[in-house]
């Protein structure tokens, strides 16, 4: 009996350890939250860095994580629309529901690219709010960090100075790094990079690259031989030498195209931890992406 009661007590006591529970939908948002919150918060990501963030399994355990959350950071651009709303509904947590004190819609104030002029699914799986992969631009990471800072300061005023200092530091570091990254990629401005899925327009814009050829004929549809033939033709014409493929996408198709065009396939990810050496956080991720691209271009 005593065992049972202490077990029950333990079960109830476990989720809260005094620190704010911050739940981010994706690992990039989680990484930024860790920078801002530091040791004063406990951050988890619902999606894992290696998986397709559009199709996270709505495991019941995620409902429990949302129920125990003080803060929910969501992308805000429909990336999670296929799995998150049902979980939030079921969790019944007022704090993290839209409009709640701990609900952060991370893309507020972000200039969204590729917002469709009309919603037409014959054009493939498009996002009505624009391309949701906006964190590939470090400047947007600064905006997101400020949102998180604001919410954390409001929820835990006694740590506000720490949150502010952390955020200032993060933004300052990014600023310095960004200059360096732009410099690294500057020699390759205007070059074409072929993507598998159209998830890199923000990165392209920031670093002056052209990432406008895709192995998918339309967002979400599998590659077809005719489409690939067209892409190969375009790649030769534009002398495209680099193909980027997200970890969870079909690398074999990319390799096949690369072998016909002499291009190099590099594995990319939007998420810290999606590829080896990116685990440390957002800066490590961008370091990896910029260096991998620069290396592939300079080949």
């Amino acid at each position: 009996m005593r065992f049972l009661s202490s077990f029950l007590l333990l079960m109830i006591a476990l989720p809260t350890q005094g620190r704010l529970n911050v739940v981010a939908t994706t690992p990039d948002l989680a990484a930024i939250a860790r920078e801002v919150g530091g040791s004063a918060v406990n951050v988890i990501s619902l999606a894992r860095p290696t998986e397709d963030p559009h199709f996270v399994e709505p495991k019941p355990s995620l409902i429990v994580k949302l129920r125990d959350a003080d803060v929910l950071i969501e992308g805000g651009a429909e990336l999670e629309i296929g799995w998150l709303p049902a979980l939030v509904d079921r969790a019944g947590n007022r704090k993290i529901s839209p409009g709640g004190t701990g609900h952060i819609k991370a893309n507020d104030g972000v200039r969204m690219l590729e917002v469709p002029t009309e919603l037409d699914r014959s054009q493939g799986d498009i996002h009505a709010a624009g391309n949701p992969h906006y964190l590939a631009d470090p400047q947007n990471a600064c905006i997101v960090a400020r949102h998180i800072e604001k919410t954390l300061c409001a929820l835990e005023p006694q740590s506000a100075s720490q949150f502010r200092a952390n955020t200032d530091q993060f933004v300052h570091d990014l600023e310095a790094k960004l200059a360096f990254w732009r410099q690294t990629l500057a020699p390759f401005k205007g070059q074409t990079v072929v993507g598998y899925h159209n998830s890199w327009p923000y990165f392209a814009e920031r670093f002056g690259l052209r990432i406008d050829l895709f192995l998918e004929p339309k967002p979400g549809l599998p590659a077809t031989p005719t489409h690939l033939a067209e892409i190969i033709g375009q790649m030769k014409q534009r002398r495209a030498r680099v193909i980027i493929v997200d970890r969870y996408l079909d690398r074999r198709t990319a390799e096949a195209v690369a072998s016909r065009t002499g291009a190099k396939v590099i594995e990319v990810t939007h998420f810290p931890g999606g590829i080896k050496d990116t685990e440390k956080g957002y800066v490590a991720l961008m370091d990896y992406l910029v260096n991998a691209l620069a290396k592939a271009f300079a080949r």
Binding site: D52, P98, T117, C142
Partner: protein, 529 residues
Amino acid sequence: MNSYRQLIAGLIMAVGLCVVSGQQSSETEQLKQQLQQLQENLERTQREYQAQIQELQKRVHDLEQTSAGAPARLSHGQPVVTDLDKESNPGSNWVAATASSSRGSASILRPLESKDGRSYLDIGLIGTFAAGTSTADDISGGTQLGGHDPNQRGFTVQGIEANFAGAVDPYFRANANVLFQVDEDGESRLELEEAWLETLSLSSGLQVRAGEFYTEFGRQNSLHPHAWAFVDQPVVLGRFLGPDGLRNPGARASWLTPTPFFSELLLSVQNSQGETASSFRSGGGHGNADESALPLAYRHADNDRGVDGLEDLLLSPRYALSLDLTDNQVLLLGASAAFGPNSRGSEDAGSTLTQIYGFDLTWKWKSPEHHAGFPFVSFQTEGLMRRYEAGHFDWDENGNGLVDFGEVVDSTTGLPAFLARETLTDYGFYSQLLYGFRKGWVAGLRFEYSAGETADYEQSSLTLDGEPLGRDPLRSQRWRVSPNLTWYPSEFSKIRLQYNYDDRLVVGVDHSVWLQFEFLLGAHAAHRF
């Protein structure tokens, strides 16, 4: 902001020094008041400035949306980087092109948008059709028990389902599903599948739903037909929960227990009558079988005493618990029950109750590097048991003591049969394995078994119009194996081919092949696990 803080800090220090240097306490009070006033003034100014800054930020943002692609942005007043150097950037044409597409959209989309991009009312339409053939003579209500199953050789409109969903106000969300159907005779039918409102967030993990809804019994009963992994309804669910599933008007409370793993307790209270409560106070035959077919337990449902108390309603508790076995594997276990009166037997048959118990297990593995959810493997099984009290029934309904046409006769006496009260016990299960082997492709295999203990009415030598009746085909042993293959061209369409090998104890073996196709228009709520 920082400069204000520094100023305040400086003032506090200055005041502190004054106090230390031995001023009188009244002066200190005065100074404190002055300081407070000063602080309040500063805070007010600060708030005003913040509001102004926010307003300006918003304007700048709006201007960005409408001006020709100037990427200058603010990050809380701190420009982190300067503009892209457009002149020396050959990629800028493309950049400008995307920026302009985002610009044109804002005004078009805005009327559709509400807070955080969701509209007030999400509307979706799902059309599900089937085509195929079967060796069975009794497809509708015979091999195919489900009300939305393929019901004839040729084509079937399984259902055109309209879904309306949204938040009502800060307290409730609502959902309604209206289904349009064409039956095997070409008659149109309109069904209200669900219409309910649910609390958004009561405290302590509680939620309450009220309206017309599917009873949370096992895994499949609460799913709309388009979310099923097979073309048709499992046999055991068709037999126990009815052709349209168990659903009725009522109220439901659910409680997420305060445990670190998912554990949920649900209790539904619903009306117990009507065709969507077929094991309870339902008047018709069983399933959507032919009207001329004999009713369940060979006795009519004349024993409906209405509702006098809570025990005359349908009560359905459920407990579900889920664990992540590994990062890639989920297990969900559930136990369900449904209790309520039934109306089987003569008018004076007394209280007759039905109890249905169910156990379900769902396991799913999804690759840690899945693309669009593929590859995955999932296994789901539900086992059910039903105890059904059938009241006594006298087939000599007009009391003339003679055998009239359409009456069940006891061949040992040659008189209209008198069926004594008895309890029927039935059980069954289905297990289904799904393998999403590449993006958009799922192979499935379902195995089903259903049977009932032979009841007294089946053992006695009953005849109808001279034909011996024997075992009840809708309670006797049946098993079915169904392999299928589904292709999802996108998330919004599917094509499914299924074969059923069907072995019924009374009827024999039948083969059926069905091709199902489905479209989805508009909004569709995220599916739960």
